[in-house]
């Protein structure tokens, strides 16, 4: 197990005042909040921050953590000394806002985990005196753009932390076979009834919400229900006009390029976006590409154009 330097994670000195720790944490928490942040590793960073703050905001835990010694460096191999926390008393203060199940092994080896921890975030809203349906679960899944066009069956593996009878944290894996309906869009949920936590008593099981995310495609770009495609065209195709083969998620089509097209010209293929009652559109954006002058013949050709075409590309600039 690797030693985690919680001070380094929050970016404060070891002798920082509680207030400074709080301020530094708040700032980073805003920066890396997964719902807001554009950083690619936001979720991971946010979890790490939450874990570090859980320890440093609590004077008891902080003192205990501090006496592990400043000799450890982040990433260094770490085993807690057997008597490391003797004489320290922990009251059940922790894990109020954070999901303790997501904390690292390092954290768990030091502070263990509260049995209520994993569920505490969800338990605020329960009304056990009336009924006790199981909790709803959420998970993100990645699908191909094609799946949204044709519908698909995807096998997904989900991992969920679980506390066993001995109080140990385990990762429970399960595999689901899920129908991806045609026309799903980025960020939408699919609700699988009864796939959440089992209910207690006569309560129904909770639901599982799968949040759809598209894997990045090598040439399509999805925006809402519209799709964008950059289509490379040769100068003569754009200048003279022609019909070219164009890929669309539903198969290749013939696309008419009007004569005199310029680079960046946007052409809309109505209804060729993501299927729906009112389907999205496919936007084809022309990208003019030049043949390289890498053979004698090509070079001659360019020379000939230079000599025979009265073309002044910078005429508008007055030079």
């Amino acid at each position: 197990m690797e030693f985690k330097d919680y001070y380094e994670i929050i970016g404060v000195k070891r002798d920082a005042a509680q207030n400074d720790i709080k301020r530094a944490y708040r700032k980073l928490a805003r920066k890396y909040h997964p719902d807001v942040s554009k950083e690619s590793n936001a979720e991971e960073k946010f979890k790490e921050l939450g874990e570090a703050y859980e320890v440093l905001k609590d004077p008891e835990k902080r003192v205990a953590y501090d006496q592990l010694g400043a000799d450890y460096k982040a990433g260094q191999n770490f085993n807690p000394p057997p008597d490391w926390n003797t004489g320290f008393e922990f009251n059940g203060g922790g894990y109020t806002e954070t999901n303790a199940a997501a904390f690292s092994d390092f954290f768990e080896s030091l502070f263990g985990h509260d049995n209520k921890g994993a569920g505490s975030r969800q338990s605020h809203g329960r009304e056990p005196q009336y009924h006790a349906p199981g909790e709803d679960h959420h998970a993100k899944i990645l699908i191909e753009l094609d799946d949204a066009f044709n519908g698909a069956t995807r096998t997904i593996t989900l991992q969920a932390p679980e506390i066993n009878a001995q109080g140990h944290m385990l990762t429970r894996k399960r595999t689901l076979n899920v129908n991806i309906p045609k026309g799903v869009k980025q960020g939408q949920f699919i609700r699988l009834a009864g796939q959440g936590s089992p209910g207690s008593g006569k309560g129904k099981s909770g639901n599982l919400y799968l949040e759809i995310n598209f894997k990045p495609h090598s040439f399509y770009h999805v925006e809402g229900k519209d799709i964008y495609l950059d289509l490379p065209v040769a100068p003569w195709e754009a200048a003279l006009g022609t019909t070219v083969k164009t890929p669309t998620p539903e198969g290749t089509v013939d696309l008419k390029i009007p004569a005199g097209s310029t680079s960046g010209r946007k052409m809309r293929l109505k209804g060729r976006g993501i299927p729906a009652k009112v389907p999205g559109d496919l936007y084809v954006v022309l990208q003019l590409v030049l043949p390289p002058a890498d053979t004698l013949q090509a070079e001659e050709f360019y020379r000939k154009m230079e000599q025979e075409l009265a073309f002044k590309p910078r005429a508008g600039l007055g030079v």
């Binding site: 807001v36 605020h124 919400y209």
Partner: protein, 103 residues
Amino acid sequence: MKIELLSGLLLDDECTLTLGEISRACSAHAEWVIELVDEGILEPGGHEPAQWQFSGPCLNRARVVRHLQQDLGINLTGAALVLDLMEEIKDMRARLRRLEREN
């Protein structure tokens, strides 16, 4: 091993979720969802809370607000503002990407 094929409900613009369904999916009290409606963050169809019908995107919004409140301690008005700004940034980023491609 054969695994049963599960078909779920797609929570799109047309689907309708009840107050109870939204509350449970956010692990929150119904009162909390009612506050979101009062704040104008969610705009369900129907007049009385018992008849309210929420679209799929309402759940996305409600969950973001829930996270912002729990993780960053933002109040409802602040969360509503963050949502609006995020929406605006998202649109601008998309526009920027399009413009970058066209030039």
